[in-house]
């Protein structure tokens, strides 16, 4: 059994880690931390986890956290995660960071986007935890930077096309729609039920922090600098990200072939037949990414649509997928849950 700890267990990604790991056949949860809920059982913080009442949150020191587990998941806010990750890493343990702190390779980009980085030396140790692109590196990693929710949906849809030079790299527009759980569990007026229900809006247009993360991965795939238009929207639903992506394919580009080549053996990516498009409701509660696309001869553009559950493939499920890899377990262990519909 792999002994794992979860640092920051009281938010939605923390809960989702618990939901997956409590029934993972190869895992034992040996510690869960929360500054705010020191001493409280997780079953009080999440009443649905009533059978996990022996699991109690503690405000552990970083060294104590590192001591308690083989693998530590950090589900902390960016900035806060940074030093916890570093200390666990320095103690020789494995760490999977769900924050943004180790996702960007370029310190300057990080600091422009998020603020000062305390441990830039670790940026080059961190492997970007998208198994479909970096499986082998993850297997050997000790520090995995688990991808953001928006980047996951966008990168999986675009990387196979950019990698094969099938689209005009300047043509990319990503119009993404997210459920509300992505905003986390901290109280804010904007995320009150009455503010969100019955309404849709765009936010942080042209300035969302996931933009450089998307561009870093796409640039790597394309072998050149990529700039994208990225517009996130808030949708009145709990979970799910739908990314509607506009690109201009090169004449004769074989999108179907590219997707098949990239994903035919992937356990969690499913490419739909041409012109069939996914809904977020098709992947809810599962670790799947569904991808569909349609070409529009009138405009010369193609529309690609990907759907993920932001808390599973977009966060905690993908983090567990990475843990399976770096612990030498079956990649799909603990992640077999089918989508919940309706």
């Amino acid at each position: 059994m792999v002994q794992v700890a979860i640092a920051g267990a009281s938010g939605y990604t923390g809960l989702e880690l618990l939901r997956i790991l409590l029934v993972h056949p190869e895992v034992e949860i040996t510690a869960v931390t929360s500054e705010k809920h020191d001493g409280r059982p997780v079953s009080e913080i999440f009443p649905g986890l009533i059978d996990a009442s022996s699991l109690v949150c503690h405000a552990l020191t970083k060294s104590e956290l590192a001591r308690r587990a083989d693998v530590v998941f950090t589900a902390l806010p960016h900035g806060t995660a940074m030093t916890t990750v570093a200390e666990v890493y320095d103690a020789g343990k494995k760490v999977i960071d769900l924050s943004a702190d180790y996702r960007l390779h370029d310190r300057r980009v990080y600091e422009t986007t998020y603020g000062k980085h305390e441990r830039p030396d670790l940026l080059e140790k961190a492997v970007y935890g998208l198994p479909e692109l970096h499986r082998e590196a993850i297997r050997k990693a000790r520090l995995v930077a688990s991808p953001g929710c928006y980047p996951t949906g966008a990168i999986l849809a675009l990387a196979p096309l950019l990698g094969r030079g099938l689209i005009n790299p300047d043509s990319i527009i990503i119009d993404a729609k997210s459920g509300v759980s992505g905003a986390g569990r901290n109280p804010s007026q904007d995320m009150l039920f009455s503010e969100v229900q019955g309404s849709i809006k765009a936010y942080k247009v042209g300035e969302h922090r996931h933009t450089p993360e998307i561009e870093q991965a796409l640039s790597l795939a394309a072998g050149r600098e990529i700039t994208v238009s990225f517009t996130p929207h808030l949708v009145p639903m709990n979970r799910g990200i739908l990314s509607t992506i506009y690109v201009t394919p090169r004449p004769g580009a074989d999108l179907a072939g590219a997707y098949a080549a990239a994903y035919k053996d992937e356990p969690f990516v499913r490419v739909l037949p041409h012109a069939q498009l996914p809904a977020t409701g098709h992947v809810l509660g599962s670790n799947y990414c569904f991808i569909g696309w349609k070409e529009d001869p009138r405009t010369g553009r193609a529309v690609i649509v990907s759907a993920i559950d932001n808390l599973v493939k977009g966060a905690s499920g993908q983090a567990v997928q990475a843990m399976n890899l770096l612990c030498g377990l079956a990649e799909t262990a603990g992640l077999g849950q089918l989508p919940l519909f309706p």
Copy 2:
């Protein structure tokens, strides 16, 4: 491996059976039927089941259905299920019926409530599939009548109290609130998104067909005739039933003791500490029934609240629980999924 068939796989309870049984470790699905979708893969009917594309719906004859499996789940409308169940039973196979056709022991009550019964001889063979009350009988049964969604939530909350004579048996009022998936997948104006969203209503007040089913089980528990007020409501959410139940306890009645005695070893019923009440969101996607209660000295009443997922403990999960019992498997096999929140 137990070979199972699902008759009527294109509705929500059919899908929920698929979701559970496709990853059940001891089960192989050998047939799925649908009159309407003859020849279509289940992955077309439910795009989330993309990996189950080899499973194809067929309009099988009843005898063919019986031939194909050890256990048949009938997820058909009442009236339609009746003869399918009977033919599978007559062929010597086991059948778990999710319709109402074999739930009522008294043919006259059935016929007053639902219409003519074609096989009243089987009513006495049928075991009411609530494991918490009839576990041993289910183990030996060949025909299980799986309980209705509203009855499950109400009976689990009330039977321990009635069985011990702790409440005034004439005082029972059940005010139940259900998500919309209970209404099924057939198109109707009443169940359109725009008709339901943003509104709550009571329906079939004093005349819902689950009333005699509830009263039959409560009468059995109490050892006398029980009549209840039962008011179902439609709530703008997909899943979940919250039953708010009003009773008058006998002076000195020990409700906590009764619940503990009844449920302390139950794998799927959880009794909350006094005055802590469940939300349907706490059990979503799981086979749990959560029960809480609170006494009100001002009025001499107690308020009991139970929460289930209508498609799991209220339908398909409970049916699988019964299957596990009658096939000699671990009762919890395939049902370990934790609640999905949010």
Copy 3:
């Protein structure tokens, strides 16, 4: 034109007052206050009120507030409203208080329920602002205590029956279901979209602060002390309260007659034909209260269901109805808006 001020304009009842009063034909809004948003236009706080950008919130002193208007609406939290109301009253102006501070006639009941009362001398000056029961008193009042949302739905359904002695006064159970806007606009984890969506729960069972308010009004109607079971629930929708009420009618009681006599000339109460029950979606955005009921000969009980929009008839609409009365305007002025559906 009546000059009105709104104290506490940045919450949902404040906004609803603005929505109604900005297009009220006989009203001019001369001041809006907000401690938190001093200096901000209301169009910033509520972007939908873009055309009201000249209306700016100020943190006015109580005396300045009183000076600015003929009628002041106080949409402040209880406790805070208390002294503002008193000072406006003392300054000789009319005040309509949407808080609970002047609703309870008995100081001891208030203090047990809410805490210390600073101006108990005014409790006897305050008229309970339910026009259907106290129209003439409201016309002459200078201080109106506008009813709570839950009490409005419950009292309108029950007062005509209690007043005529048609029901067993000890039999009353009120199972109420509310939209989320009733919880206000202050951030709290419990009211985040992701906590509320897809779930229903009971809360404050047997101890909600609206209970004594309901009992006070029903006792007055019955001419004797009334105690009720009152269970509020939180429903995943923005607006609306559905009250499902259980009572035991006296033999031969004519409920239809009682309702007709009470409400046949009322502009905002509509009694549905026997056995037809309202949904909250039928009254959304309007000042209506719809009432339906159904007798259940099996149990000897009757089920009464009332539906209101908690922000209109349950708060701001009713407050404007009272204002119309105490200013000698047509009672329906500014309140003609029909329900919005879907």
Copy 4:
């Protein structure tokens, strides 16, 4: 008083016409028709209209319909509306058609998109009922083709820029998100609550019938042929369309100036300050169109976002606005209702 009839009153746009016209100060509704509900009061079809119970739906002949009113609104499906509109027109009355039947000037485009046109002679008589672009023509019209919901949001956002040559006309991508009421009130599995709630999807990508309508209006504005990418999405909410539009402005283009010039005197279009973007929740229940935009120097694109209520400015409110114009009433008569929030 203008005497108006509504043909096809039992759908959502029919109800919305009723909601507006029943309280319109200059209008008397003299007939409402419905094939399906012949003889039923509208208060049965829409319980919220309880006070309109004297208004009864009838299956009137077309000539009888024309006889009964000065202005007829046709809220019928396309194809069905066609001959009703024509007969009313031929009878010398005014008609405002909410279907698509008279929106496309080019018969071939209509027939490719919708099927055979029975009265192509009337296509040139019809005025496209977008007051912001065709106010004077509407005043003089007898046949108004009221715009589609998606076209309204897109055209109002784009026409001022195309008309002034400020954007690259080949760069237009319209990613639109709609509430469910746009799909109408006819039962279909796709629009069941449980299919829609908690999920978002794109549909009819690159082939939605509103595309030629959008392109016709934009081509007219631009003075050249315009082709757009148009992707509609279904969002789990009742009302509202958010259009997120991507364009490439010409260097130095003054978008703010263009919008100000176009809309500064418009009663129902509001342009937000730069970089402030609307939500559909800001306009719910109102006839407003809110427009915001933001330039993105990184990509050279601008993102324009418009928000309307699809049933008001996107359908019935806009139709009443046109009626006001062609009857010589104040353009805003009956349309003063402020947005409902939350």
